[in-house]
Assembly symmetry: C2
Homo-oligomer: 316 residues x 2
Amino acid sequence: MQAVWLENGKLSLREVPVLEPAPGEARVRVLQAGICNTDLELVAGYYPYTGVLGHEFVGHVERGPSELLGQRVVGEINAACGICATCKRDLTKHCENRTVLGIVGRDGAFAPTLALPVANLHPVAEAISDDEATFTEPLAAALQIQHQTAIGAGRRVLVVGTGKLGQLIARTFALTGCELQALGRRQSSLDLLAAHGIDVLTADSLQERAYDVAVECTGNAAGFELARRALRPRGTLVMKSTYAGGLTLDASAVVVDELQLIGSRCGPFARALEVLAGKRLKVEDLIEARYPLADAPAAFEHASRPGALKVLLEVS
Amino acid sequence: MQAVWLENGKLSLREVPVLEPAPGEARVRVLQAGICNTDLELVAGYYPYTGVLGHEFVGHVERGPSELLGQRVVGEINAACGICATCKRDLTKHCENRTVLGIVGRDGAFAPTLALPVANLHPVAEAISDDEATFTEPLAAALQIQHQTAIGAGRRVLVVGTGKLGQLIARTFALTGCELQALGRRQSSLDLLAAHGIDVLTADSLQERAYDVAVECTGNAAGFELARRALRPRGTLVMKSTYAGGLTLDASAVVVDELQLIGSRCGPFARALEVLAGKRLKVEDLIEARYPLADAPAAFEHASRPGALKVLLEVS
C-alpha cells in the first residue's frame, strides 16, 4: 500500500506492506487523517523518526476482536508496554517503552491501514461526523489542561497562540465559564475565535501580571515570554507546545513570582468524544483544505504555510 | 551609623542616618546578620539595588509598640502595601508595591539598626540561640517548598546543590520521612549532610527518570538539567535559585514528560521558628566564619569563595 514515509527529514510516498496486527492489536482502515504541527516538526527534524507519519485519524476496524470489527474508531497514540514502573503507576501515556503512532517506532495514519493496541481504540458515536472525529486526538490534548489545573468560573485565563491547537484550547475553555481571552497575531484566526464568542486581543493590548492561567501554544520563546508576563504572582503557565531547540526564559522571574509551569501533552479521548457527541463545540471551521493521500507532499506544503489551519488527508 | 552600602555594584562602608520608623513600623537593633547568595548576586549586579544590604538577621526592638520593646526578633523581609490586588488575595509576599529588606527599596540588616513593619517581626523563643535565629529567613525559604508540593513518606526526592540553601532544604526534607538524596560536587558539603544521616551522591551516579521531586538550588543551567533528568514523567521540579541572565532549558522534554516546574521563594517564619525551637534541625555547623561589621568587605570576599557556607556579620 502507498503511505507517507519520512526518512532523514525527507517526505515521500512509498509502498509499504500492510501490517499484520500483533497480539492484542487491531488493524484499522483509515478514512481520513489530519496533519498536525508535530508532523511538520518531525519533517523539520525535531525528532529522528523514520516511518509512516500521521496520528490524527478516524477509520474502521478491519481486523481484530469480533466486537470491534467494522466499527468506526479513533485511537490513542501511545502504545504502552503495561509492565514498566511508569505503567504500573497508571501513567501509561508516559510508558518508558512506548511506541507512538506516527511519531516513535510505530507506523502512522497517513496510510490506508494502521495497527494499534485494541485498548487504544475508541468507538465513535453516530452523532459524530468523520470530520469531527478526526479532531479527537488534538481535542483530547486541549482537554488535558483541565485535568492539570483549575479552569472555570472566577479564573482569568489567557490562551497565547490562536493556531490549530490554540483554537481548540480556547474553545474547550469557553465551555468552563472561565474569564477567557485569546491572544494571537493573525486577524483571520482571531476572527474565527471571535465568531465563537471568545474575547480576543493582540500582544500590544495585553494586560500584564493579571491572569491566573496562561497557556502557551505558539512554540516560540516570544510566545512563552508573553504568557509569563501575563501571569499574576503564583499564576500557572501551561506549556502545550514543543520547541525546536532550547527555550531561553527568565527563570529568576519564575522563582520570584513563584509561578508554576506545567508541561501538557496527550489527553482523555473519552472526554473529547463526549464533547463532540454532545455538539458542545464546533471544529469543522478549522478545516482549511483536503487532499488525497497521493497528494501528501502538496498537503504538507499547504499545512506548513504560516497561519494554516487543519489540512486533512483523505485516505479511503 | 556605619552600614554596608551597595551602589552601582560597589560595596562600601558608609555613614547613614539612623532611621525614624514610619507609622506601623518598628526599629530593630541588629545583633548579627548572615550573608546570603542574594547579597552576592546584588553585588554582582543581578538586580539594580542601591542602599544598605542584608536581610537575614536577629536583633532587639528598640523603638516600636510597647509590647515589642526590648524583645529579640527576626523579621520577614517583604513589606507589603496591604491594599493592592495581590495583597487582597493574601499574597502579601508578592505585593506589587512591596519593599524588600536589603533587596528592594528598603535599607537592610548590615547596619546597627533597621526598620520593618511591626507585622513582619516575630519574637524569638529563649530556646533559640542568636546563631540559630539568624537562619530563620533561609530556613523559612527551605520550608516553603513543603507548602507547594508534597514531600513525605513514599516520595522519592532529590536536592540538587549542597551549598548553604541546599543544606537547609535537605535537612528540612529529612524531617518528613521522604526517600531523600542530595546531589553535590563538593566533598566537604556532602560530608556535612552525610553527618546528618542524609544520603548523598555526585552527578555521575545519578539515576535518571526516577525521582518524584527534584529541587534545583545550584542557580546554574547544569544543575537545572540534572534536576530535570532526575525526574520521572509528571515529576515536580522546584526552582529555588535565581539565575544570572536567562536559563536555557529543554522545554520540549518538560512538555513530553508533563513535568511541573514550581518557582519557590520566601517561606513561613512561624514554622521555621517552631522547627528551631524544637531543636529538630541543626544549623550551627553551617557557620563558616564571623566578621565584625567593619570588616564587611573581607566577609563578602570570604562568602563569595566557591563552596563557602554561612558567613556572619557581628553587628552589635
